[in-house]
Subunit: 421 residues, 2 copies
């Protein structure tokens, strides 16, 4: 841990105080103002497409030495800019999460108590070089009534600044403070450290990126973190599974997109059904380009599969690789998941409702599914309209984080002169 220079700490404090003042205004902004800001920002993104592409081209020039995948994530196109604008419009169309009455009750002494959704305040967003995250995060935080301080990867700095300018134009047009959405004023890496230690200035840090970034954030942060760590997800094909459903669901859970956090990494299959079904499941996946790491009992059925090292069952491949273990029923499956899983997303395929109930009660994952693909772990698929990530901690929110999860609450207590005895 390096000491943070006074200058960087001052720069952060100035930005965070401006954000806090803006957050106080934003917390009281009505829905039309926030939506107007989002719609103006979307229009600005479309109107300034050429300038954004130019900034992006410059970013790409400086990133010439980086991998093709990295450059692809960094690259903007007219279509991608249009998709960002459409994303802002979608957030504008979502209901306002602030001010919802979450619960309301009366006390015997006549006090009425209301629990009301409230913005979090100032959110610090730390992410890698994906320019679109600038627009996504700005839109969600704005609609949730919180100010946001965005610190993206330095390779995308010019693109992100151009996008942020469009959001600022939207804020201005709606009469909202521009400081509600700010970029980190410096690319000094110490600024990230300063953000992580800004207790009292920043209310919540959301890291979005690879394991290294998230781990650093969780280790260093003195501010609450809504982290998105790994998804070591299982699909358990139970003895009473419908074979055709198991084939469809597993193929989707593993291969629809292998790089998403909801992808299945390990297949558990009951010994009773394995000899008949495993060859079909593996055949389907192999045809889709999947590779395998199999335990001894699996290899007794399919000797051609590569042997799994024990570490494999603890590996989030995020790739076309599937671990396979044969298990002796529910308790063994749950024990495997408790040992190797990451409490993210786990599914059972079975036609036996009691088995499904035992599975859902026995796991402690943010999302447990019965007869559905693990790839449904997604804010959009949950009906949230948009998401800022998947929370893997246990406090505040678990699973997909949409506008509602980006809020906190407070109480309103309405009396008629009550005093406490």
């Amino acid at each position: 841990m390096n000491a943070i220079s006074d200058t960087v700490a001052e720069v952060l404090e100035t930005a965070a105080r401006a954000a806090r003042a803006a957050a106080a205004q934003l917390a009281r902004a009505d829905r039309p103002s926030k939506d107007q800001a989002l719609l103006h920002a979307a229009a600005a993104l479309r109107a300034r497409q050429a300038a954004i592409l130019e900034a992006n081209a410059e970013d790409l020039t400086h990133a010439s030495g980086l991998s093709a995948a990295f450059r692809d994530r960094l690259t903007l196109t007219p279509e991608r800019i249009d998709a960002m604008a459409a994303g802002l419009e979608q957030v504008a169309a979502l209901p306002d999460p602030v001010g919802r009455t979450l619960a309301e009750w009366d006390r015997p002494n006549g006090l009425r108590i209301q629990r009301v959704a409230q913005p979090i305040g100032v959110i610090g967003m730390i992410f890698e070089s994906r320019p679109n995250v600038t627009a996504d995060a700005a839109a969600l935080c704005l609609k949730a009534g919180s100010a946001v301080l965005l610190r993206g990867g330095s390779e995308s700095a010019r693109s992100a600044a151009a996008i942020r300018d469009c959001v600022a134009a939207g804020l201005r047009a709606a009469g909202l403070p521009e400081a509600a959405v700010q970029m980190a004023p410096t690319q000094d890496r110490a600024f990230v450290g300063a953000m992580l230690r800004a207790a009292g200035l920043i209310d919540l840090i959301i890291p979005r990126g690879g394991k290294g970034l998230v781990t650093r954030v969780m280790e260093e942060a003195r501010v609450p973190v809504l982290a998105h760590a790994e998804g070591l997800n299982h699909t358990y094909v139970h003895a009473a599974a419908d074979p055709a459903m198991a084939r469809t669901v597993l193929a989707n859970a593993k291969m629809r997109r292998t790089g998403v956090c909801g992808a299945t990494e390990t297949l558990l299959i009951d010994a009773a059904i394995a000899p008949a079904l495993l060859p079909l499941l593996v055949g389907d996946l192999r045809a889709l380009g999947c590779d395998f790491r199999a335990d001894a009992r699996t290899r007794a059925i399919l000797p051609e599969l590569a042997e799994a090292a024990e570490g494999d069952f603890a590996t989030e491949w995020l790739d076309a690789v599937l671990n396979i273990a044969v298990v002796d029923g529910m308790e063994a499956a749950l024990a495997h998941i408790r040992r190797f899983g990451s409490e993210h997303t786990d599914a059972i395929v079975t036609s036996d409702a009691a088995a499904a109930e035992a599975f859902l009660a026995g796991i402690d994952s943010a999302v447990g599914l019965w007869n559905a693909s693990t790839q449904f772990c997604d804010g959009g698929e949950f009906g949230f309209g948009a998401e800022i990530g998947i929370a893997t901690g246990r406090l505040h929110a678990r699973g997909p984080v949409g506008l509602e999860q980006l809020c906190t609450y407070r109480y309103r207590v309405l009396g008629t002169g009550q005093v406490r005895p």
Copy 2:
């Protein structure tokens, strides 16, 4: 920050792993088992009264050099033991917070999504030498399905151990794992540091005690913290306040109990009503033994009051002292609260509903009250049946923390073979 010796870290890890295994069992325990454990523990407290008093007498012998207030908090009596037992019985009578369906909806593709309350896991409770907190915290965590590791002040170690033994007897009687409620196995102060850094072993730290303890916990913790920091609370007597109601509410808010976090520390009063009402308010409070720190405008009306230093308005007295400032209406009152308040509990007294609404919308306190005493900021008064503290952070929970707030949630997704397109 001192290095933590390997031994202490190992001791913690052993305890926390046992707690985690117990938590997994407890999470699946049904309500009757948990209630049986609580009722047996209450019976054991009553049955072992003599032994508990003996342990407490020994604690008190070793604490002979400490202040009278400290010794009072440490002292147990037959009545206090009975109150602890009654507290356990009250928690047993509360509904089970685990497994409640918090929300449920269907998706167009036929998926049914359920958000279900779930235990937090392993809770680390760090508190000062108040033996009763052992019983309270054990009961609430147990009912909420979480294991708890209790680290109380060393001066109360013998009393706390005797109380914990009663809880352990209750757990045994109910067939639940004793490791669900553990005392810290060492009084080494480094153990607290080890708890605070036990990310992955402990899911949540709850500190309960003075400012020094809470500040240390918030600074050092790598584990999420549900902190209970200061309550610098205001009662704002608006120009349209009913004078009689203002007198009753303020006297209660300040003087019912001055040492609780919901006590009012500062009176704000509108200039329009101050000349007539201030002398009455001050007279009432003075008769109850209250002292004052007054701003210049207050002293223009009541010159005999002591002058407030600016720091006074930022001081949580927790004593029979009231800060007073005369303000020019709503915006000035809100500005004062934003500058000096701690976002804990603030109240307005007014007969003007629009003014009340502006106040409740303008503050960002965990609890805002209209025409009621700030001393209502309490889990019992909110109808929670019992509370483990008042949360002053912005994430997960704000205000009184009862059984519901001691839970997290997870999702159950019920399908019929759906795959994601």
